[in-house]
Symmetry: C2
Subunit: 383 residues, 2 copies
């Protein structure tokens, strides 16, 4: 696995059960996965020679992030390396403009969007949104605010800007970042549909979940999404399956969705184990990490059903420095909730950084959610 | 963890979730745990200098087997190393005579037994068994066969002999192995009670399981033990809790039990993660591996409740050479049973060697057991 973050760390745990050991290409020996894996190579994912050396002797190569240049992926594939997902698929997780274009071509539900390169492009787009709204007799008078997104490199809320008028647009355009703009969707909540696809073309779909964001960072995942109609859940799963097939994804595909009054629209795509699937470690019969390995190793997919009626994952973010050590916090948490499942990533604590997550399972979603949130807050703030 | 077998391998998986990385003292770089852990030291558990060097910088030291000399454990403890279970506890898992003496003193239920050093000791013991049986009007006319056990070093059926008369006894005594003898208990089945105890003295008990042996090797574990009365289950759990406290165990204690018409008697003790607890990885809220770590790190114990009404673990033993590769077998198994949970230990296959296990969860014990046995047979024999 290229990249030594927490996704590689948890994939290593899954690899061990399959009788494998994950080789990790890590930037630093202190990276999450490098701390726990037996076979760690230090190197950078943008270095083709390092990737080539790394791939030697691997059964298959995959990624814990989407930042490996597609040219490098294609080069290795041409040399006979089994590398998944392939360059022709992962580009749609790297480049938001290409993704929006392809999804539009496929007729998948997306927000109104445009590529933009000037302030007037953005203002024109806001005018288009306003006109559409007027035609729908929407109460909103203006097209603003619009959502600007960096075409490449966004993550956890970075690379996304809410522009409330031409002035804000001007500032952003001046930075030179290639952008697209999207209509701000009147969303009810966010959902995620996670599927895995093998090279053979078998696809397995997990139950659709609700994701809760704070400042653009996923903080909670509720499985299954509470109150989601069977019909809409099937629609979301079918959409993810269709996209996995159409884009030729091998491995996991996470489709981040907005749920609106009118239906679902695709927000983002990720092609790797995803934060919205961490709950599957205990909450599904097969974890997303094992499922990703099964896919890239071309094994048949594992069962995706829930292991409990209600499962909630809450991310643990680094809190303010000071106070109890993380070890003391673990003591208190374990004493107060012996059933909370803790996953720490071995990372240095920095405010707002994802340093772990907690999963709670049970029968009642409200109760399970309260426990998960309390547990994460304990680890985060020591109170 | 001293010892690099599959128990250390699976403990490493649990350590990762707790934000730790297991350091392993392994005989060989090819040992199960050495293949997957980041911090592996090569050395032998009988070498005090190696143990001392290994322990430097560890938060706590524990074992994946019971073969570390108690003198070494005591020496390290005296030097300030947190090493669990301690010498004064683990001796009862190393030495069957000391164990039987201590359990007899504690009034715990044990089979009739004696230390023996001559053929006549064994014959006298058989006569004693016969006299007891006659006094109980037992139908059995003879005290033979009796069960001889090596005082030290037995494992997986090795070091246990069924002696059907003085001639067999003569041969065994001639070998010079220090022995005890026990009455052959008219057992209905075998059970196991698993508990974990922290240095603080908190004890957590898992549901009592049924273990199925073949040629002295555990091949299946059924959780919870089918048809076991609540009363007897509580009796077995209480016995294990009492023993953990009385012996001062820190970490896991597995009490292997015989269930007879008259009640339960203790067969063996193990003080480490145990084959009878592998089902807990998916089948209990906290796995035995995490529980052992929590105990030796002095964290509060985790919840031990079942995650499904019926859980069955079946061991995968090495089959005869030839036929499908293990990889092909995995393909077939995953295709035919997507819900079977596979754990392979990364070991070279030798006939009869434990190379992995499979766990199946569900609502109906009969069905779950059939699936687990079929899955293990697939991996074992490729059919």
């Amino acid at each position: 696995m290229v990249g030594g973050g927490q996704l590689a760390r948890m994939t290593h745990q899954a690899a061990i059960a399959l009788g494998q050991s994950l080789r990790v290409l890590s930037e630093s020996p202190d990276d999450s996965a490098a701390l726990v894996a037996a076979d760690v190579r230090i190197g950078t994912h943008t270095d083709l020679a390092a990737l080539r050396e790394f791939a030697k002797g691997c059964d298959a190569v995959t990624f814990d992030h989407e930042h490996v240049p597609t040219g490098h992926i294609a080069a290795l594939a041409a040399e006979g390396v089994k590398i998944y997902p392939g360059a022709e698929a992962i580009v749609f997780a790297q480049d938001k403009q290409r993704m929006r274009e392809r999804l539009t071509d496929l007729g998948a539900p997306v927000p109104l969007w445009r590529p933009v390169s000037s302030v007037s492009d953005i203002s024109d787009f806001a005018a288009l949104v306003a006109a559409n709204r007027a035609a729908r007799s929407d109460a909103s008078q203006s097209g603003w605010p619009v959502v600007a997104k960096a075409v490449r490199g966004g993550y956890d809320g970075r690379g996304v800007w809410m522009l409330d008028g031409p002035e804000a647009a001007e500032q952003l355009v001046a930075s030179g970042t290639p952008l697209i703009v999207e209509e701000r969707v009147p969303l009810r909540r966010e959902l995620a549909a996670l599927v895995a696809r093998s090279p053979f073309g078998q696809v397995a779909a997990y139950p659709v979940v609700e994701t809760v964001q704070q400042d653009g960072i996923c903080v909670e995942v509720l499985a299954p999404a509470p109150g989601l109609s069977e019909e809409r859940a099937l629609e979301a799963q079918q959409l993810a399956i269709d996209l996995a097939n159409a884009l030729g994804v091998v491995g996991l595909l996470a489709v981040e969705l907005f749920e609106t009054e009118a239906g679902i629209v695709v927000n983002e795509l990720a092609m790797r184990p995803h934060n919205s699937g961490h709950w599957t470690i205990e909450g599904a019969r097969t974890s997303q990490f094992e499922q990703h390995l099964r896919a890239v190793l071309d094994y048949p997919m594992g069962e995706t059903s829930l292991t409990a009626p209600a499962v909630v994952m809450a991310n643990v973010l680094g809190g303010q420095p000071g106070g109890m050590s993380i070890d003391e916090r673990m003591h208190h948490l374990f004493a107060s909730d012996p059933g909370a499942r803790v996953h720490l990533y071995g990372k240095q604590i920095r405010p707002g950084r994802k340093i772990g997550h907690v999963t709670v399972l049970g029968d009642d979603m409200t109760e399970v959610r309260a426990r998960a949130v309390r547990a994460a807050k304990w680890l985060q703030e020591g109170e």
